[in-house]
C-alpha cells in the first residue's frame, strides 16, 4: 500500500529529537567554564599558549628521527593488523551474512536451524570482538605472547576484525537478491553465489570501507604503545597529557602525512576503479590488458605492503626507542604451543560476572538477610506502588531503591557514552552536510560539465580555493584522532561530557564530510543536467542531497556505532561513565565486576548492530 505522505521520516525526526532531549537532560553537562569569567580567562590563556606552541613544531634532528622510527613502527603494525583483520573478517562475515550462511534455497529443518545458528553465533562473535576495547585485548594478549609491537598489532587486528566483519556482512546482505539471481539459478552453491554474485556487486563499498578503516587503524593505533610496542599514537597521547605542544605538533604532522598519503592512495584507487560509463573522464576504449592489469597492480601493491610489514617486524631495524631490534614475530609461534594458552587462566574470573543477585533477594538466605539488614537491597514497591507512576517522587524512590543493585549502576552508566555519541554524531552530521558542498569535486571543480556555464578565471580560482580549504579542514578534523581532540577540549572545558561530545563531533564531521561528498561525486552528471536551474547551491540542496541521502544515513549510522565505542574509550580519559568504570575495575583486577561492565558494553554494541540491521540502512552496489 502506498500512502501519499510517508510517516517514516516524521517518526525518524521525532525519535532523533527525543534522543537529543534525553541526551541533554539525562546526564549533567557542565558548562560552568563558559559562564564563570575567571575560569574562562584561564581557559583562553591555555588555548593561546597551545596555539602559540602549535605554530612552532619541534624540528630537532634527533626528535625527527624518533618520529620517523615511530612512523615506520606504526605503519608496519597497522598494516599487519589490517591484513590479518581483512582475512579473518572475510571468513567471519561469511558466517554472519544471512545471504551467505542461510541463503535463499530451501533447506531441511535441521539444515535451516544449523545455518541460523551459525549466523547468530558469528554475529555474536563479531560483536564481542568489536565491543571489547582494544587495550583489553592487548592486556589479555600480553599473557599469551608477551610484550612487544606484535601484541599491539594483534589486539588491533582483533577489534578491526569485528568492525570489518560487521560492515562486510551488512553490505553483502544489502545487495538485492534479484541482482545475483542468475548465478543462483544456474545452480551455484552459496559460496559460488558469494564469489560470483554478491562480492563483485558489493566490491566498491567494501573497498571504500576497508580503506577508511585501514586509515583509522593507522591513526588511532595507540594500543600498540600500551603494551610496549612504541608507535605514534601512544607518543601523541603521552605528549598531550604532558602538554608538550611543540612535540605534539611534529608528531601530528607525521600522522597527518600518513593520513594524507592514505587518502590520496585511496582516491587514486577509487578513480582507477570508477565504473560509471557516463562519467566524462571514463575510459571506455581501453585495451583489455590495461583493464585487467590494474587488478594485478593492486594485488601487487598489497603484497609488497604486507611483505614489508612482516619483514620490518621480524628482521628490520624495528626497535621501539631505547630497545634493541629483535624478531617480534617469534613470540607468535607460542600461540601454537599449548603453554601460552594456559596463561589465559589469569583472566578466568572474567567468566563469572558479578550480577549481585543478593540485592534482589536471590541466593543464599544468610547473605540476602545481611543485605536487607544493611538496607542495601532492592525493595521497589514498598514506598511507592506501581500505580503512582505519575508522581515524580515515585520515580526518584524507585531509582534510589534500584541503585542498591550493582547491575542497575552498570546499566545507568551507559547513559554517559550514549549521550556523548548522540550529541556528537548529530553535531558532526550537521557540520559535514554543510561542508560537503564546498568539499564536493563535482560542484567545485567540474560543475561546468553539467551547468554548461563558462566562468571567468577568477570565479574558477575562487571555487577551487573553497574546495582546497574544505578538503584541508576535513583532513585535519579526521586526521587528528578523537582522543587528541578530546584532550584539547579538556584543556579548555575541563574533563567532562562536553569535551568528549565536541571531540566526537569534530572527528565525525571530518570523516563524514569525506564520504558524504564522495557519494555526491558518484552521482552521474546527467542527473544534474536535466534539473539544473541556474544555481549551484539549489541544485546541490534539491537534487544532489536527496539522491545521496540514503548513503549519508548509512554512513552516519555506521559512524554513530563507532562513536558509541569511541565514547566508551573517551570515558577512560576523563569523561566518566561506562568506559571509566570498566577500565577502573579491570585495572584493579576486579575481574568479576569488570566483566559485568564489559557485558554492558557488548550489549550496547549488539543493540545498535541489531537496530541498524532491522532498519536495513545499508545499500551496496
Amino acid at each position: 500500500m502506498h500512502t501519499k505522505r510517508p510517516w517514516g521520516a516524521w517518526a525518524a525526526i521525532v525519535v532523533v529529537a527525543v534522543l537529543l532531549v534525553g541526551a541533554l537532560t539525562a546526564v549533567s553537562w557542565d558548562i560552568s567554564v563558559l559562564r564563570d569569567s575567571a575560569q574562562r580567562s584561564m581557559a583562553f590563556g591555555r588555548m593561546g599558549a597551545w596555539l602559540l606552541a602549535f605554530a612552532s613544531p619541534e624540528l630537532d634532528q634527533a626528535f625527527l628521527q624518533h618520529c620517523w622510527a615511530l612512523t615506520l613502527q606504526t605503519l608496519s603494525a597497522a598494516l599487519l593488523a589490517t591484513f590479518l583483520a581483512i582475512i579473518a573478517a572475510l571468513v567471519l562475515a561469511m558466517g554472519s551474512s544471512k545471504a551467505v550462511s542461510v541463503g535463499h534455497d530451501k533447506q531441511g529443518v535441521l539444515g535451516r536451524w544449523a545455518s541460523r545458528f551459525t549466523c547468530s553465533l558469528s554475529r555474536l562473535i563479531q560483536d564481542v570482538l568489536r565491543g571489547v576495547p582494544d587495550f583489553v585485548w592487548a592486556v589479555i594478549l600480553v599473557a599469551l605472547i608477551g610484550l612487544g609491537p606484535l601484541t599491539g598489532a594483534l589486539a588491533l587486528a582483533l577489534s578491526m576484525t569485528g568492525i570489518l566483519a560487521k560492515v562486510y556482512s551488512e553490505l553483502w546482505d544489502s545487495v538485492a537478491p534479484k541482482r545475483y539471481e542468475q548465478v543462483r539459478i544456474l545452480g551455484s552453491g552459496r559460496l559460488g553465489i558469494l564469489a560470483y554474485g554478491i562480492m563483485p556487486l558489493a566490491a566498491r563499498s567494501v573497498q571504500s570501507f576497508t580503506l577508511m578503516r585501514a586509515e583509522c587503524a593507522i591513526r588511532n593505533a595507540a594500543v600498540i604503545g600500551a603494551v610496549g610496542g612504541g608507535g605514534l599514537g601512544a607518543d601523541i597521547w603521552y605528549q598531550i597529557q604532558f602538554g608538550a605542544w611543540s612535540k605534539v605538533t611534529t608528531l601530528l604532522l607525521f600522522t597527518l602525512a600518513l593520513t594524507l598519503s592514505a587518502d590520496l592512495l585511496s582516491n587514486l584507487i577509487r578513480r582507477q576503479l570508477r565504473t560509471d560509463p557516463n562519467h566524462p573522464r571514463a575510459k571506455n576504449d581501453e585495451p583489455l590488458w590495461r583493464q585487467i592489469g590494474r587488478n594485478y597492480l593492486a594485488v601487487g601493491i598489497m603484497a609488497v605492503a604486507l611483505g614489508w610489514s612482516l619483514w620490518f617486524m621480524g628482521w628490520g631495524n624495528n626497535a621501539p626507542p631505547g630497545q634493541q631490534p629483535r624478531n617480534f614475530l617469534a613470540p607468535a609461534t607460542e600461540l601454537f604451543s599449548g603453554q601460552a594458552w594456559q596463561h589465559l587462566s589469569f583472566f578466568k574470573r572474567m567468566l563469572s560476572p558479578e550480577f549481585d543477585l543478593a540485592a534482589l533477594g536471590i541466593g543464599e538466605e544468610r547473605v540476602v538477610e545481611a543485605r536487607k539488614e544493611a538496607g542495601k537491597s532492592v525493595e521497589l514497591f514498598v514506598k511507592h506502588s506501581p500505580w503512582e507512576f505519575y508522581k515524580k517522587e515515585a520515580w526518584q524512590g524507585w531509582n534510589a531503591a534500584l541503585n542498591n543493585w550493582f547491575v542497575w549502576k552498570v546499566i545507568t552508566s551507559a547513559g554517559v557514552p550514549l549521550a556523548m555519541a548522540i550529541v556528537g554524531t548529530l553535531l558532526g552530521m550537521g557540520a559535514a552536510a554543510l561542508l560537503s558542498y564546498p568539499h564536493s569535486f563535482s560542484f567545485m571543480w567540474e560543475s561546468s560539465q553539467f551547468t554548461g556555464a563558462r566562468l571567468p578565471w577568477w570565479a574558477n580560482v575562487l571555487r577551487r580555493t573553497q574546495l582546497v580549504l574544505a578538503r584541508l579542514t576535513g583532513l585535519v578534523a579526521r586526521g587528528v584522532p578523537e582522543v587528541m581532540w578530546a584532550f584539547l577540549f579538556i584543556a579548555f572545558f575541563g574533563p567532562g561530557i562536553l569535551a568528549g561530545a565536541l571531540a566526537i563531533a569534530l572527528h565525525t564531521a571530518g570523516v563524514l564530510v569525506r564520504v558524504f561528498s564522495e557519494s555526491i561525486d558518484n552521482i552521474p552528471y546527467r542527473r544534474f543536467e536535466q534539473s539544473f536551474s541556474g544555481s549551484l547551491p539549489v541544485c546541490f540542496g534539491l537534487v544532489a542531497v536527496p539522491v545521496a541521502w540514503r548513503d549519508w544515513l548509512t554512513y552516519s549510522f555506521f559512524q554513530f556505532e563507532s562513536n558509541v565505542r569511541m565514547a566508551v574509550v573517551l570515558g577512560i580519559v576523563g569523561a566518566g561513565g561506562l568506559g571509566f568504570q570498566f577500565s577502573f575495575h579491570f585495572e584493579w583486577f576486579m575481574f568479576e565486576k569488570a566483566a559485568t561492565y564489559l557485558l554492558m558494553i557488548i550489549a550496547l554494541t549488539v543493540g545498535i548492530d541489531r537496530l541498524s540491521r532491522a532498519l536495513n540502512l545499508s545499500r551496496a552496489g
Binding site: 599473557a143 621480524g314 609461534t333
Partner: protein, 293 residues
Amino acid sequence: MLKRFLLTLCLGLFTLSSPLLAKAPERLIITAIPDDSAENMREFFGLIARHIQASTGIPTEYVHVENYAATVTALATGRAHLAWFGAVTTAQAYMMMGDELEVVAARDIDKGFISYFVANADSGIAPVKDLKELAQLAKGKNWNFTFGSKSSTSSHLMPRSFFADQSGQRPEQVFRTVAYSGSHDVVVQKVANGEFHIGALGQPPYERASDAIKAKAPIIYTTPKFTNYCFATKKSLGRDTIDAIHAALLSLHASEEGRKALGYLKSQGFVDANISEWMSYVELLKSGVDIGK
C-alpha cells in the same frame, strides 16, 4: 624469508618444549609501572637493565609499557621477569599470584615515602596544616583536583586515604571534578598551567620537575610516611637467578650507570625488602578501602 620464518618457528617450538631452559631465562625482561615520561623511564631503567646484565651475565632488556595492568599481567604470567611496582601494584600482584611473588629489593626512600599536595600558584591557596583544613577551604570554591593514575600509590591511594581519614569526606564530595591525569609528572604540569587547582603526587617526581614548574605549583601539604615502590619477581625464576639480581640491585651504586639511575630515582641505594612489608596494603585493598569508584 619464508624459510627463515619457518626456522624461527621450529626454533621457537623447540625452545618452548624443552623444560631445561625454563629455569634460567635467556633474556631478562624488565618492566615498570608507567609513572613518568616514556623517555625518562626508557633511559634510566635502560641503565638499570645494563647494570643487571653486566652483573648477572644474562642479557637484560627494559620494555616500556603505558598501562599499569599490563605490568602486573606480564609478571604474573611470566612474560616479564622483573617488575618495578608501586605498593598498590605489589599488593595487586600478590592478590593475583599469592606466594609466587617475591620482592627482590626496594630503595631506601621507599620505606618512608611521602606524597605532596600541590596547588596552582595563581589560585592563592596557602599551605595547610592538615587536609581537614584544605577540605574546609575548598567549600563552595569549585576547585578541580587531579590524582595521577588510578592504580598509583603515592599519587592516588595514599593521598586519597589520608584525605578521607583527616577530613572525613571523599575528595569527590569536596572538589568540583576529581580527575586522573595519568602520571606524576603530568599532575604537576597540569597544576602548574592552571588546568587543575590542586593535585597530588609522589616526592621524587616533584623534585625532578624544573624550578619554573615548582614555582608555579608550590607544595601546600606533605603527607605522613608510608611504604612504596619495589622490584618484584616470580619465584619460579629460580633461586640462583633471583639471588644474582638481588646482588646486582644492591650494588647499583657501584657502577657508573647505576649511580645515574639512582640519581634519577632520588635514592642513595637499594636495600633488602620482604613482601611482609607490603602486606598491610593487601589487607587495605581487601578491606574494600575507597579507591575512587
